[in-house]
Symmetry: C2
Subunit: 114 residues, 2 copies
């Protein structure tokens, strides 16, 4: 992670997840029920694989996500939100509502389980 | 702005403000009562002047901020949130609360007017 920019809690939060990809991975895991590398790569946004690997590593390092091995040979991992990561979901939902109200042509899709 | 990544409203929102600086300017204007170039440059995060100019231009282009001339010779401008920009403030407050609860050492500062 980059150096801390200031003591502001908003700046601190954006230092953790303020890039164009990190919150989309939190969305994938927490709202879309995706947990494995291939699931993320199949997303509509087409995240580049090097960015995916970097952001998953950072999500684990910052404590938003835990990595669990689900297969031993070869080792394969799943990603799940921690309590801190799950606490971002209401912020994502607020962003989606903001986008619906303020960006032309945006509408809310059904989510898995809706 | 970069090309639209998908139809997801969260991705659309992050395409508008998902970088490490844009929401800090929304914070400066909406929470700290800053409106002029010099005010933004004096911020704790030390935004580089080229990034400041670019992000202000994008904030105006995306309709989150309006620019008003407050002096004619030489022309000088102030920046104010639109209704769409002000609608982001609850999201910023949720980010600050998240940071307080989930990032070590973060606490909420008093805001102007508190």
């Amino acid at each position: 992670m980059e150096a801390k920019r200031s003591d502001c809690p908003i700046a601190a939060a954006l230092d953790v997840f303020g890039d164009r990809w990190t919150l989309l991975l939190v969305r994938d895991i927490g709202l879309f029920g995706k947990h494995r590398n291939k699931d993320f790569q199949d997303g509509a946004e087409g995240i580049p694989s090097n960015i995916l690997a970097d952001r998953l590593r950072r999500l684990v390092a910052t404590g938003l996500v835990v990595r669990r091995r689900y297969q031993a040979h070869p080792p394969r991992y799943e990603y799940h939100l921690t309590e801190a990561g799950a606490a971002l979901l209401p912020i994502l939902e607020a962003m989606a509502l903001w986008a619906k109200d303020h960006i032309a042509g945006v509408r809310l899709p059904p989510l898995p389980g809706d």
